[in-house]
Symmetry: C2
């Protein structure tokens, strides 16, 4: 009996015949609650279709080439760029074809909902982002959105219905690369960031690929208007409610790939704080000004950056500088002004605070030493741009992911398949950080080559991608079953 049911739910591995599966369910459409546990565990995504769709979507904004295959390029699809508009248009067209209702909110977040049996409850969402870093890859964020599309396609093919709807959301400017606050649009949705602040945010001038950035920087609002993605729906969890939010992502770190593991069940996200700092010194001539007569803001910066790594490492944290600008920017003038970003991360909110506290004292001391000889020492100013305390994900979601992961890897050719799944903490922030503040949330990680991310050569195999999508497919089904049990 059970074996017969399984023939109705073929493992959707290649060779996959969608017509047959589809027609099976056209005859006998089925609700998630009507599936047996074994049937749920046998659900799989279509690896080839997923890979095809993912790389198809990467035609808009493909970046630096690093290999010979057509898909061996990075991505450069900055939020709200022309390339981003193109992939958004494709996303809407595709989800509409999958019978979704699509809405766009005031931050350009796109919500595509495949209706469930009950119209009076919010959908369970799969979400991530389609924007990338300036030298990003094809998986960070993109896989998470494409996972949602593949889940919808699989469900449609099978005629599988859910009690609550299933949604896919594309969050705007998750990377914070063009507009320098990451996850800003899920932050507005969660009502943790004000719409006014977000709309007024200016693009970073160092993103050189955008010709406007240096001369007449766009705001988020003007950029949204320019590509016609300033929606009318208020950006809020109240206007676009969710039952839960699941996100599939590459690990962006080396743990899974080093250990040969297949799935990370993400239980938490480390804390982090982003700062902008200014060091104010004094412009002087490089050829005529002795070291003791200088207030060299760039030299002070160099000492600070070296110190930041020492302090962070001593506390098991990370400290990184991604952006630096020195002014006036002339070979023979000692820079009198340096601006830079500082990104401090750690497993606990308190540890990040301790690193910050120590660095504030150390940076003051470094600044005071530079220029002391002329009685005009450098000084340093800190601005907190972003504060993301450590996050613990929702146990119901974690459980759904854990069960699904164990099920999906169960046919792997190893003795202890459960060893292929591990609980993991996210080092990076994700939109799930903000959704977790309003709705049950958790994430799924898959391995990526060398743990590399934010780099054109960022890579995950088609197998690993499909494994991740199979897990999120089952997790959404399990969650739908649980919430109406």
């Amino acid at each position: 009996m059970m074996l017969r049911s399984l023939s109705v739910f073929p493992r959707l591995h290649p060779p996959f015949n969608p017509t047959r599966t589809f027609s099976t369910f056209r005859i006998q459409s089925m609700l998630t609650s009507e599936l047996s546990d074994v049937e749920v565990s046998s659900l799989r995504a279509n690896k080839e279709r997923l890979a095809k769709d993912l790389h198809h979507s990467c035609q808009w904004g493909y970046g630096i080439r690093w290999g010979d295959n057509p898909t061996d390029t990075g991505m450069q699809r900055l939020a709200l760029s022309e390339e981003d508009k193109s992939v958004r248009d494709w996303f809407i067209q595709t989800t509409k074809e999958l019978k979704c209702n699509v809405t766009v909110d005031q931050m350009g977040n796109i919500f595509a909902v495949r209706p469930g049996r009950r119209a009076d409850v919010p959908a369970t969402f799969i979400g991530s982002h389609l924007d990338t870093q300036p030298t990003g890859g094809r998986y960070d964020g993109i896989l998470g959105v494409l996972a949602g599309i593949e889940v919808l396609k699989t469900m449609n093919d099978m005629g599988l219905e859910t009690k609550g709807g299933v949604g896919v959301v594309n969050w705007t400017n998750e990377e914070g690369a063009r507009f320098p606050v990451s996850m800003i649009s899920s932050g507005v949705w969660a009502e943790c960031i004000s719409l006014e602040h977000a709309h007024g945010l200016k693009e970073v001038p160092t993103v050189a690929s955008l010709p406007t950035a240096a001369s007449a920087p766009e705001t988020m609002k003007s950029a949204l208007q320019k590509i016609n993605y300033l929606g009318e729906t208020p950006c809020s969890y109240k206007s676009s409610p969710m039952a839960a939010h699941f996100e599939l992502h590459i690990e962006q770190g080396p743990h899974l790939v080093s250990a040969g593991q297949r799935i990370g069940v993400v239980t938490a996200v480390q804390a982090y704080r982003w700062f902008r700092l200014n060091i104010i010194g004094r412009d002087t001539h490089t050829g005529t000004t002795a070291f003791e007569h200088r207030a060299d803001a760039l030299y002070a910066f160099a000492r600070m950056m070296v110190r930041a790594r020492e302090v962070a490492a001593s506390k098991g944290c990370l400290a990184s500088v991604g952006i630096v600008e020195a002014k006036p920017g002339s070979v023979n003038t000692v820079p009198g002004l340096v601006s830079f970003s500082l990104d401090i991360r750690g497993p606990e909110t308190e540890l990040v605070a301790k690193v910050e506290e120590e660095l504030r004292a150390d940076f003051d001391a470094i600044a005071a030493a530079e220029g002391a000889g002329i009685g005009k020492p450098c000084r340093v100013e800190w601005t907190l741009d972003f504060d993301s305390p450590a996050v613990i994900f929702h146990q119901d979601c974690i459980d759904c992911v854990q069960e699904s992961a164990d099920a999906v890897v169960s046919d792997a050719p190893v003795a202890d398949t459960k060893s292929l799944v591990r609980p993991i903490m996210s080092g990076a922030g994700h939109d799930s950080v903000f959704t977790s503040k309003r709705v049950p949330t958790s994430m799924i990680f898959i391995p990526c080559k060398d743990g590399l991310s934010h780099h054109p050569e960022e890579f995950s195999t088609a197998d690993d991608c499909a494994t991740g999508v199979s897990v999120i497919l089952q997790a959404v089904v399990r969650y739908d079953r649980k919430r109406f049990a």
Copy 2:
């Protein structure tokens, strides 16, 4: 008799009556060789007129305000900008009104020559530059050109004729701030730099005030054409010959002002080398990449800059970074590429070479350490942009300046007026470095406040400026007398 002659050569201190002096000489025009030594020593510039002309010329491209007086601003007059065009037009109009023949060469260098008695010999030149740093002041370069104008005005007022002509030259892009090779146009004139290389040089993108710089950088040639200063005269000491080149400049260092001295007789210019360096690491995610998994090009840069100061200081040299760019320039991406400028200077050519040699080894070691953990260490590339060996100026010119300086300060209210004059070495490069390779050359320094330069608050008193111009006036007269003695 001598006293009567002196009444013919009134010390041109305020109150100065140009009409009377002028009319005196209209009756009895006089050649430099006909002056007595005491008469030469009594020659003075007009302090008020000099100050008025200098600040008048600073209306084009005035920069950051730092005080309440109308002239309390810095300068931002980048080479071949619209502001530079305006002051060039003024320079040509002014020198033509002073009866000069004006030519413009292929680098936009402007030569204004007041003819002497003999048309068959080259003129003795006074020269410097009208361009400034992006956050420069009102004296660096500008004083040197205005000194030439004031010398011509004084000579015209007095009806003083020279045997060889007297010229004033404005050299293009001395600062190297917009087009990143300093003294490039005197370098082409001296045939030490090729015209093709100079014409092809692109503007620095970090000079943010120029909107073209980031998107479509001008070359020197296109910039010359744009403001109509691409002259037809070949840029060469053969086509625009000089008998000698004298340059008046602020010290840009603290020695004169600290010692209360009035004039520096510049005997030499320290050696320097300018490099562009690239550090190639690997872009990765700041939140998920442990320090030992990074090849952080910016962290390597920070260590290199700290090391550069240590090594330079140990050898009595200077090492400075004025420009730094980190790519891709995103808060949460570890920069995989950093480019920066390195300016090494020292009193001897060999010392600069030793600093370079040591830094090449140290930088390689720093790069090798960063990323070693992943087997993909950073690497560093050096490009030499500019090499200026130490220069010794011409003894004839130095002698003229020394005698003139001693004469000009002789009426100061101190016991030992000669103590107000000192021999000095230039820390900065100047166009005189290149002219010295082809014709007898030397320089004159005056004190500047706090030794500060390449800064909006760069300042010299009107008295000190006039003292300097009086010295260069006498030096040109003495040189004219010597060469035809």
